[in-house]
């Protein structure tokens, strides 16, 4: 997780909203990629969960984009996707073939926690009070997202005493 070329102390509300939209967009795309990977590797339950996460990120992104449009219309932006590296998007390394729904949810929880950490770390540098309020709101929403994933985790039946992993052969040489 990192950013490049963003001066948080001079971030305007318009750019902060754009940044938030881009963060959601990045996360949505990554969850879609993860869902594709799971479908590719015949792991439909994890795929279904990642699609659900992609939808949530998209919804949140749309809300933020609508706010931005109301406040600033189509004024240009000074932030773009090249400035973000995996803020709320789960790291590629989080995915695994045949991951259980629980493992998929834990990966999502890790990235929501990561995003929360991003807003917490950025807040002290922010000068503009409106941006500060927005970042506090986004930080708190990340906690809500974590709760959402935790609620999904709670719905899972308890893990079987013996895990599927124990019945999987080690990768075979060709």
């Amino acid at each position: 997780m990192s950013t490049q070329g963003i001066d948080f102390s001079r971030l305007s509300l318009k750019d902060a909203l754009d940044l938030a939209v881009l963060i959601e967009e990045e996360a949505k795309e990554r969850y879609e990629e993860f869902a594709d990977q799971m479908e590719q590797h015949r792991t439909p339950e994890a795929a279904k969960f990642f699609r659900y996460m992609a939808l949530n990120e998209a919804k949140h992104g749309e809300e933020l984009a609508a706010r931005r449009a109301t406040l600033f219309g189509n004024q240009g932006s000074s932030v773009n996707r090249s400035m973000l590296f995996d803020i709320e998007a789960p790291d590629y390394d989080e995915a695994r073939a045949f991951m259980s729904p629980r493992a998929a949810m834990q990966a999502a929880l890790a990235s929501e926690t990561k995003a929360h950490g991003f807003f917490v770390a950025a807040l002290p540098s922010i000068q503009n009070p409106e941006v500060k309020a927005l970042f506090e709101e986004l930080r708190d929403e990340e906690v809500e997202h974590q709760d959402l994933v935790k609620a999904e985790l709670a719905k899972l039946p308890p893990d079987p005493a013996v895990s599927d992993e124990e019945f999987v052969d080690a990768p075979a040489p060709q």
Partner: protein, 291 residues
């Protein structure tokens, strides 16, 4: 930084969905390549992306550049042919440690001494991934695999030191543990006027060793910039490169501050020189007529 880049990373992403194992380091590498290409801003149709065979060698297919997934170990000869045929193309070559340092290892020295403006990215995972986990030339001594049940008896090659010793003018190392750094290094390598080599430590989550996964790599990573390394100092670069396998240095080991002419430039100069004394086209046959 401008907010409206002419090209964005997504413009270099193809419709083809990668079939790498979930978690494979190569997913991050292709992202780094998209970002570097967007920063450079050449349209996809002006880019030729050539690879050999291996999991990593699937990479051109996941980009919108013209691509050729060639023959095992033969990315570099084909990339050179393409560069000679059309020197205006941006030519990228990529592949795995097996592809580049084993079966294709003989081509490295010759491309280095020819110095064509090609960027070569190796996804070094210390294993043959595609063929399901045999020893590769960068596997550590003692490594147990299906072809080395009792541990490898061979010393690994050191690709960084090899390339520096061959005389490469740009040698760097990157890793998905630092995505921003990786994209910047790939961009710098592409911008370098001449042959550029980037070794990327890209974990194989299926057959790779624990120590070579993201967590293990993070523990041994060290930024060359933070160490105060001067990339113009080739001997210092060789010194640092010796730690390949124990430390993972990230950044540019060596960048020749005065890059020599590329092979393509020399060929153009030679052609221009020869043209001065060349017979006019309509008199060419006269050269073969005995006076």
């Amino acid at each position: 930084m401008s907010a409206t880049l002419e090209y964005q990373a997504k413009d270099y992403k193809s419709e083809l969905k990668p079939i790498w194992c979930p978690g494979c380091g190569d997913y991050s590498v292709v992202q780094g390549i998209y970002r570097a290409l967007a920063a450079i801003g050449r349209p996809p149709h002006e880019i030729a992306f050539i690879s050999g065979i291996g999991c990593s060698s699937r990479i051109p297919g996941y980009t919108t550049a013209y691509g050729f997934n060639t023959v095992h170990g033969r990315a570099l000869p084909i990339a050179q042919g393409i560069k000679m045929a059309n020197p205006d193309l941006l030519v990228l070559a990529a592949g795995g440690d097996g592809d580049g340092f084993s079966i294709g290892g003989g081509h490295l020295a010759h491309l280095v001494r020819r110095n064509m403006d090609i960027t070569y990215i190796v996804m070094d995972n210390q294993i043959y991934g595609l063929t399901k986990g045999q020893l590769s030339p960068t596997s550590q001594k003692g490594r147990q695999t299906c072809t080395s049940r009792f541990g490898s008896l061979e010393e690994p090659v050191n690709p960084l030191l090899y390339m520096l010793a061959y005389g490469a003018h740009f040698v760097a190392q990157a890793c998905p543990t630092d995505l921003a750094g990786m994209a910047a290094i790939i961009e710098e390598a592409i911008r370098f006027p001449g042959f550029a080599f980037v070794n990327i430590q890209s974990p194989c989550v299926t057959y790779g060793e624990e120590a070579q996964q993201m967590k293990g790599l993070k523990a041994i990573q060290e930024s060359l910039k933070a160490l105060g390394h001067d990339p113009a100092d080739r001997l210092a670069a060789m010194d640092l490169a010796q730690q390949y396998g124990t430390k993972m240095h990230l950044g540019v080991f060596y960048r020749n501050p005065e890059p020599p002419a590329t092979y393509e430039q020399l060929v153009r100069e030679r052609q221009a020189e020869q043209m001065k004394n060349a017979a006019p086209r309509e008199r060419i046959l006269d050269l073969f007529i005995k006076k």
